[in-house]
Symmetry: C2
Subunit: 213 residues, 2 copies
DNA sequence: TAGATTGTTAATCGATTAACAATC
DNA sequence: TAGATTGTTAATCGATTAACAATC
């Protein structure tokens, strides 16, 4: 049989909830809890038990009737579904304020990624260190990609530079973008994995909510 | 009449799209464009014209039959809906790597906020400058809030510290949180405006998408 | 006036919730 | 076995898309 699970065509809304399940289960693992029912988990997370069972059953039957879910097992399974066990080689483009903070603040290795290179067009940054990586000038980008075959790029560059850089990166085989720039990648490139972190948009949403209770 | 618009009970999904409309319209304003139809805008944004018209009509009839929308006017109106013209006084809690980068990288003033104070429990940071603000120790927090009445807090602290800090901030009158911590505020506090920026969750979603095309 | 495009209603589609038979 | 809780089907709810009359 070709399909080993029901994963094909799982809704984005379900995928968006998986990391949150993973986080809550991780806490339970850390607390040494062994077992939880969908009802108990639903109360902790503030969602319905039905939704939890529906979501999980997109990927398989991880529970046991009359018992609930084994926490260690479920945590591990969701990690595998998210692909956290198969790190994607990643490069950071843009080592300014934000790029530097993201690169040093986020645990790439626990999240399914491995940061292997840093690039910035500002030559005054070249050779400086971020984490354990030397910043490279942009003219090293092509050779580096041909040699190391990164699959993912973390974009911390201004909108004005983004369009060209993305085109180049895609031609060099990048398949996914963690996009902090204000460039709307996915309008032009439909088959590329893009996760936008539009901090400005996020703030404006908050502004609306604060002003409308 | 009590309600001046149809705004009450607008779906979150609509609100989430408003900042993106605002961004695209802002570009058109900058390019000097004066007029656009829902169809033209839909092509630029990669969504349907129907959705644009439905979304906008949650707040009023901003268009004109046979003509389309006046770009300057629509841009301004969406800005007002988002409350960008009424800045919310905001404090930053946590002036580490990330807090510092966010505070200096994001244009609060254009997004409906005004950063008026910075706090960190690490006393070695006290009196250092972020942007134009001096970092304060946490024991100044209460007096500062009583005096300046901030409405919003930007949380860049570890999960372990977040629960206590949030409780305190809410008791001091904070109504909205831009939450970069991994603490799930909204489970406990239902009537507070929270915008989560869970960078780890975002990365895990990207991991899933890269590994599943 | 004729053409264009909105605002809005109706139809479709998808997601969430509820219910319950299966089963541990 | 009896009790609990899943996996899954059915019912409900809400969001998106399509269609079109209103109107600039």
């Amino acid at each position: 049989m070709f399909l080993l699970n029901k994963q094909n065509g799982v809704s984005d809304l379900v995928i968006n909830r998986l990391p949150r399940y993973y986080r809550f289960l991780g806490e339970l693992v850390a607390e040494g809890e062994k077992r939880i029912s969908s009802r108990e988990l639903s109360e902790k997370m503030g969602i319905t038990a039905s939704q939890i069972r529906q979501d999980l059953n997109c990927f398989g039957g991880f529970g046991q009737q009359g018992y609930g879910y084994n926490i260690d097992m479920l945590y591990e399974e969701i990690g595998k579904i998210l692909g956290l066990d198969k790190p994607s080689k990643t490069i950071l483009i843009g080592a300014g304020n934000l790029g530097k903070a993201i690169a040093t603040h986020v645990s790439f290795n626990e999240k399914g990624f491995e940061l292997i290179g840093v690039f910035d067009k500002d030559l005054s940054l070249t050779e400086k260190i971020i984490g354990e990586l030397k910043i490279n000038s942009m003219d090293k980008l092509e050779d580096f990609c041909l040699k190391n075959k990164p699959e993912c790029a973390l974009l911390c560059i201004p909108k004005t530079a983004a369009a060209n850089v993305c085109e180049k990166l895609i031609s060099l085989g990048i398949k996914g973008f963690w996009n902090f720039s204000h460039y709307d990648l996915s309008v032009k490139y439909k088959n590329i994995a893009v996760e936008n972190v539009h901090l400005g948009d996020s703030l404006m949403k908050l502004s609306y909510r604060i002003k409308n209770q």
